[in-house]
Amino acid sequence: MKTCLIVDDSRVVRKVARKIFEDLGFACSEAEDGDKAYIACMSDMPHVILLDWNMPVMNGIEFLRKLRASNGGDAPKVIFCTTENEITFIQEAMAAGADEYIMKPFDSHIVQGKLEQIEVL
């Protein structure tokens, strides 16, 4: 089974995302900030990471840079979450190594489309 790490500081968003990913056949784990996500990746690298950018402790961009620089950190497909007023950050995120971005709010259909684009599904 494919694994997915959901990184977001909102319990509600994590819950929504988990439901979507589990329905798509992923085994999900969650992290509430970049730091915790990084620790989780180090012990068990997921196939896909759904990454929010605005989080306490370590934000999405910082996490992404750190992940990509780490050993084996280039393997996971990273989908970056953003809201409409952060267009500049999308470019920044893609440059930092994100595979795809997704706008909040997303639904199952959108997530599935994105996953197909990056050839995970």
């Binding site: 500081d9 909102s10 319990r11 509600v12 968003v13 819950k15 929504v16 929010d52 605005n54 989080m55 306490p56 979450c81 809201t83 007023n85 909040k104 709010p105």
Partner: protein, 884 residues
């Protein structure tokens, strides 16, 4: 509500609480990047999450607020007091939306264009965000909020935490901060909190101590107190001892220590009030009222535990006052009142209690509406409603499920009523009273104990074991002995006690605790503790009563916690550990309170009938004088739309409560309506039901029935009685029931009998009315009934060796009365010596009952209590056949 929404509410509320403080801090430290980042992120998260949940209004507002915060974050805009006010205002709105969502499960309707325009102006750097007058930063002091935080810390002696109170109107909120140091981190010198800011150097004088530490201290002090009590007890038995003086000193020190530690548990009542200004303010905004919340005596202290208990009831009551009590400004103006309504909270100490008054100058309670509502809800009959005094009517709002608000709003009327408030207050031994004047306002007065840790308790003994009963729930003590006024009696298997004019249900502590049967020592005088749980009184039978003692309540150990009859344990002066009984738990154990209430209802019923007057329903049907029927025989009065009456062959039926109910016209010649509604008296006999169609229900009267003349039974009349000075026909319900049943089941005329149980009953009653009423009912229950009209006739049957399983006899009969009859039946040579005897009495005074028992009756039943009679006959018949 949706799971996700729940989660969102929890998450958002957490964030918002953190946010308020952060924003105020931001004003002081406009360049704190971390702070800005944190605030920005919280708003951002709210916005992001709203998208998933479909909360467009909240999302939009958060988005615009986020824009402004975004500019602070990248430093392109400097933080000004005006813009902070605007941001605070946005948060108020967000909170309102969240609160609305929480209450209704959906976003409140409306939009926030006003705020958004101003947020955008700031965002675009066009305006300095001047707040409208309503939300001008208040010059009044905010209500300090002191609360144990989520880690269980309680500030000692005090700490402050501010609800953002820019719009609060609480001028009289004496800030407890005045003489208490604020913690430095909170000491933000907003213009709204000058006193808090003025005292940072005092901060070192207070510490944060975990509640657990305090609780432990309290426990240790309790132990110390108990040990001291033990020592004192020993010392009392010794006249000369070297320990006397030091022990005296120890005594004083311990007392002071106890007081001191109790003090640490005390918190100002303002802790329970802290959120109220905000709640009132929210209501004013939501429904467009003007309300001034005045708080007096905010520094009045009470135990933390008590505080926790009253927080919710207080909030509920203030909400009620604001929502239902205070009128809209326009209405107030019309009534010549100031547009701004006032809700006054006042707390003060009074002899070991704290009194809290909640008054408003609103519209008061409309007793007429409460009456109407009570009748509509079937709580009381119209007749009863008329008889109630204003005061009694007002008390009805404390009844379960009662709300006089015509519409349920988002603010109050969410299914939590005053009954819950009262229960919560009574749970901690408090009382609540209410006074209300229509058009002038309502005042609630709550009286609660200062602490629950040390209570006054009555020490009692049962089967050699001692127990404590909290004094608060003890109304009085009654000693039961042969000579005493109060007596133990038995109604339908429930032991009861007649005390002055009322009957009290009794429970035997011995039985509840399974310490043996009450009957083991029948001769011994016993004591009854009259306990009160809520409005409900009952008696607890115990063996002995000692004195009252101040006891330290210790929680019940976990393995006993499922036993609800104990509320804790304590150590007495002699060192013995005893359990504290919980009267509430006892009432519940004894067969939930509802069945106790049922026993109460039966008692009330008996008391009613002992008044000798019988409520009669007077109605018109066909030509001639009105007719009457005993109200107790009528199950319900219904108005059935004529259109709903169906015909099935010659019969009329109507669908009634999921069944078909046959409808019988009172007389065949009666003109039935073709349209509109048909008045129907519904009679039910066990599971059968029928409707008697009548022209009009006239009244309910209370009369002593004396059926004068037995009419021809085939017309369904028992005879005539003088009711309100007018002769009226009293109808025979049995007749109509038999018509209905015969028609319905197509069987032979007469009552459709129940399965014959092979038992026979002798019914002795001089009144044809009762014979006609009871005989069909008993035969329907399967008994073979022999009805005779006097005692002598009955005794003749004894001579002929006729066997009966049960004998039911009236008490007042011409010739030989019931008592003499019973004595004759119980005579040594009587053939019926062992036949159970049930008295049927319209007199139920203690004397009558006692006489009945002495004469040999096994049970007594009030006339008209048909169900009770059946139960008694069944029970006694059963017992008897088991013995035989």
């Amino acid at each position: 509500m949706d799971d996700l929404i729940q989660e969102f509410l929890a998450e958002t509320n957490e964030s918002l609480n953190a946010l308020d403080l952060d924003i105020v801090k931001l004003e002081q430290n406009p360049n704190d990047k971390d702070l800005i980042g944190r605030i920005f992120r919280l708003v951002h998260t709210i916005k992001g999450t709203c998208g998933f949940l479909g909360l467009p209004r909240l999302e939009k507002l958060a988005h615009h607020a986020e824009n402004v915060l975004g500019r602070y974050r990248d430093g392109s805009l400097s933080v000004t007091p005006q813009s902070v006010t605007l941001i605070l205002e946005s948060f108020d709105r967000i909170k309102m939306l969240v609160a609305g969502l929480e209450a209704a499960g959906a976003e409140p309707a409306g939009d926030d264009a006003d705020l958004i325009v101003r947020l955008d102006e700031v965002y675009e750097g066009r305006a300095a965000a001047v707040a409208p007058p309503l939300v001008e930063p208040s010059t009044k002091p905010p209500a300090p909020v002191v609360e144990a935080d989520e880690f269980g810390f309680v500030p000692v002696p005090m700490d402050t935490d501010f609800v953002p109170t820019a719009v609060m109107s609480a001028p009289a909120a004496t800030p407890v901060v005045a003489d208490a140091p604020a913690s430095p981190s909170m000491a933000v010198a907003t213009p709204a909190a000058p006193k808090a800011a003025a005292a940072p150097e005092e901060a070192s004088k207070s510490l944060r101590v975990s509640v657990e530490v305090l609780e432990n201290l309290m426990t240790m002090v309790s132990e110390l107190v108990l040990t001291r009590n033990q020592l004192l007890q020993i010392m009392r038995q010794q006249t000369e001892s070297a320990f006397t003086a030091p022990l005296q000193r120890l005594n004083h020190v311990v007392s002071e220590l106890q007081e001191g530690v109790m003090q640490t548990r005390m918190q100002p009542i303002s802790n329970a009030w802290g959120k109220l200004p905000r709640i009132v303010r929210d209501i004013t905004v939501e429904v467009g009222k003007k309300i001034n919340l005045e708080m007096r005596g905010a520094e009045t202290e009470l135990d933390r535990q008590v505080l926790d208990y009253i927080k919710d009831p207080l909030t509920h009551m203030v909400r009620n006052s604001a929502d239902h009590g205070i009128e809209l400004p326009a209405d107030r103006k019309m009534l010549g009142k100031p547009e701004e309504g006032t809700i006054l909270l006042n707390a003060f100490h009074e002899g070991g209690h704290i009194i809290i008054e909640i008054s408003d100058d609103g519209k008061g309670l409309d007793t007429e509406r409460i009456r109407a509502k009570a009748v509509e809800k079937g709580v009381i009959s119209e007749e009863q409603a008329r008889a109630l005094t204003e005061q009694q009517v007002q008390q009805m709002i404390f009844a379960a499920g009662f709300s006089t608000a015509e519409k349920v709003t988002a603010i109050s009327g969410r299914g939590v009523g005053m009954d819950v408030v009262r229960n919560n207050i009574e749970k901690i031994g408090g009382t609540i009273e209410m006074r209300s004047v229509l058009g002038r306002g309502t005042t609630f007065t709550i009286k609660i104990p200062l602490t629950l840790a040390i209570v006054s308790a009555l020490i009692i003994e049962v089967a050699g074991e001692r127990y404590a009963v909290p004094q608060l729930s003890v109304r009085e003590l009654v000693r039961l002995s042969n000579g005493s006024e109060a007596r133990l009696e038995d109604i339908h298997g429930t032991p009861i006690m007649r005390l002055r004019d009322s009957l009290l249900p009794l429970v035997s502590l011995r039985k509840i605790l399974k310490l043996g049967d009450e009957e083991t020592e029948p001769t011994r005088p016993r004591q009854v503790i009259v306990a009160q749980v809520g409005a409900y009184q009952f008696g607890i039978i115990v063996d002995r009563v000692f004195d009252t003692e101040e006891i330290v309540v210790k929680p019940v150990s976990p393995i006993l916690r499922n036993l609800r009859i104990f509320s804790g344990n304590t150590i007495l002066g002699d060192g013995s550990v005893i359990m504290i009984l919980d009267p509430n738990g006892i009432a519940n154990t004894v067969g939930d309170v509802s069945s106790m209430a049922k026993a109460q209802a039966e008692i009330d019923h008996i008391q009613d009938s002992s008044a000798r007057k019988t409520p009669l329903l007077v109605f018109r049907a066909g030509p001639g004088a009105p007719r009457a029927v005993p109200l107790s025989l009528v199950s319900r009065l219904e108005e059935i739309a004529v259109g709903k009456i169906e015909r099935s062959g010659q019969r009329r039926v109507v669908q009634y409560r999921g069944k078909l109910m046959p409808l019988i016209p009172f007389s065949e010649t009666m003109d039935l309506k073709n349209a509109g509604v048909q008045s129907v008296l519904v009679f039910s006999e066990r599971d059968r039901v029928m409707g008697l169609m009548v022209d009009e229900i006239v009244d309910i009267v209370e009369e002593h029935i004396d059926v004068q003349l037995t009419a021809d039974n085939s017309f369904g009349l028992l005879g005539s009685a003088i009711i309100h000075g007018q002769a009226m026909d009293v109808i025979d319900v049995g007749h109509f029931l038999s018509i209905a049943q015969a028609d319905w089941f197509g069987g032979p005329a007469g009552l459709a009998p129940g399965a014959d149980n092979g038992k026979s009953v002798l019914l002795v009653d001089d009144s044809p009315f009762f014979r006609n009423m009871l005989a069909p009912m008993l035969s329907a229950a399967g008994y073979t009934v022999r009805a005779v009209n006097d005692a002598l006739e009955a005794l003749q049957l004894a001579k002929t060796d006729t066997h009966f399983d049960v004998i039911i006899s009236d008490i007042e009969m011409p010739g030989m009365n019931g008592f003499d009859f019973a004595r004759a039946v119980r005579a040594k040579d009587s053939k019926w010596l062992k036949v159970p005897l049930v008295a049927l009495s319209s007199h139920a005074t203690a004397k009558d009952l006692e006489r009945g028992r002495e004469a040999g009756f096994d049970d007594y039943i009030a006339k008209f209590d048909r169900e009770g009679l059946l139960r008694a006959v069944n029970r006694i018949g059963q017992l008897h056949s088991e013995v035989a």
